[in-house]
């Protein structure tokens, strides 16, 4: 039985790319583009008798954006075989160019590429992959070799990106409301109470809106209430939330209302006035919040 490794090994020594001519002869406009982009001010490249930058060798025979030679050659065969093995990404790792002569405008180059070796699977920083080593030979129109290039690419399986922990937005905690979030971390739903007139209030604030007293304490809520109002948010989306997101105003049995999320129900199951009870959402290590769910019908 032929193994995957055998099938890959069979490519060694094979011509990967049959001799392919460059789409254009060496020319000044492409040299100009190159030296401008590279920031290369060497006067030889755009002078009276221009020569092409040596490092530009490979560029002349690149297939470009919309290759017209859609041949199903050995190269495509190898790429397909590598993809079958899950090696869908590619990055070049080594290049060794040896120049036999300089090339000048008018030279019509071609390239031929032969596989030298394909490595066993290696673990790399990018993911598990195989190194494909080839030899490219560049010739002029008189068949003279102008340069060779030992070329190595890593064909790899992209490592799964570590799931990025997207946290809920932090509540704006201050001296006046800190007690409420601290209690929530302990899974206690509390309501602020005026120490003088005993009126309950929410959201927390420094001063009683009824009697203007600054003295306050808290009472623990029963955790039961009713649905006062709600919206269903579809957009815009924040990555920390699941959508559609149910956002409700819940009226506690104690009489105050709070804005919260609903869980354990879909939007079409909601009716204003329905009975709800608290459930605790441990959003992350630093944030626990009350959410509400419909009261489950009692058994029996």
């Amino acid at each position: 039985m032929t193994t995957y490794d055998d099938r890959l090994a069979a490519f060694s020594g094979r011509v990967l790319v049959e001799r392919r001519p460059a789409p254009d002869p060496v020319n000044v406009p492409m040299i100009r583009q190159w030296v401008e982009a590279m920031g290369d001010a060497n006067p030889r490249y755009l002078g009276e008798q221009p020569v092409a930058p040596a490092s530009m060798m490979q560029a002349w025979t690149m297939r470009g954006y919309a290759p017209t030679d859609a041949s199903a050659g050995a190269f495509e065969e190898l790429v397909a075989l590598l993809e079958e093995g899950g090696y869908t990404s590619v990055v070049a790792t080594d290049s060794e160019l040896d120049f036999h002569r300089e090339v000048v405008p008018g030279d019509h180059l071609s390239v031929e590429e032969v596989v030298e070796s394909i490595s066993a699977e290696k673990r790399t920083g990018l993911g598990a992959g195989r190194f494909v080593s080839t030899l490219k030979t560049y010739r002029d129109s008189a068949d003279e070799v102008v340069a060779t290039q030992r070329w190595r690419t890593l064909r790899f399986r992209p490592a799964e990106p570590a799931p990025e922990a997207v946290l809920r937005p932090r509540p704006a905690i201050n001296l006046d409301n800190e007690f409420w979030f601290t209690a929530a971390r302990e899974e206690r739903l509390v309501v602020q109470r005026c120490a003088d007139c005993k009126a309950l209030r929410h959201p927390p604030g420094p001063c009683c809106p009824d009697c203007t007293s600054f003295a306050w304490d808290t009472v623990e809520a029963s955790g039961r209430g009713t649905l006062y109002s709600y919206v269903v948010a579809h957009h815009p989306r924040h990555p920390a939330f699941d959508y559609p997101l149910l956002i409700a105003v819940v009226e506690l049995d104690e009489g105050t209302r709070l804005i919260t999320n609903l869980t354990g129900a879909t939007a079409d199951e909601l009716t204003v006035g329905m009975a709800l009870e608290v459930e605790w959402l441990r959003a992350d290590a630093d944030l626990t919040l009350p959410v509400f769910r419909p009261v489950r019908p009692r058994e029996h």
Partner: protein
């Protein structure tokens, strides 16, 4: 030019535009060199410089020092960490051999995360 000579450093600010402009000048239309979203899908945090450009910059670095009469005989490079937008790659080099007019220069181009390229360039000088 003698063994031990040190080339003047060359700092290349790696802008997004440089990465794209040089990729296109080298006829390299691989999406990882211009499309950040597709680069991410392929396991890269951003677009990155293509190897043809690394060759071009190493070539520029050495020939700017060796002068316009120099003829490049060899450029051998090995890539390390990628060059991403916002990096600065500093190229450093020194002469390691001189044989009958052929000058060997060892080159390292490093960015904030380490060596992007290590290589050897040989130029023929008159």
């Amino acid at each position: 030019m003698k063994v031990g000579d040190v080339l003047p450093e060359l700092a290349i600010p790696v802008t997004r535009t440089l990465i794209v402009a040089t990729a296109l000048a080298s006829r390299d239309f691989q999406d990882v060199h211009h499309d950040p979203a597709l680069a991410a899908e392929r396991g890269s945090p951003d677009i990155f410089m293509n190897i043809l450009t690394t060759n071009g910059l190493v070539d520029r670095f050495v020939t700017a020092w060796a002068g316009p009469a120099a003829v490049v005989k060899k450029i051998k490079i090995k890539l390390g960490v990628p060059n991403y937008p916002g990096d600065t790659m500093t190229l450093r080099g020194s002469v390691t051999a001189v044989n009958s007019g052929q000058v060997s220069v060892e080159v390292v181009g490093a960015n904030e995360r380490g060596a992007h390229v290590t290589g050897l360039v040989i130029v023929q000088v008159p």
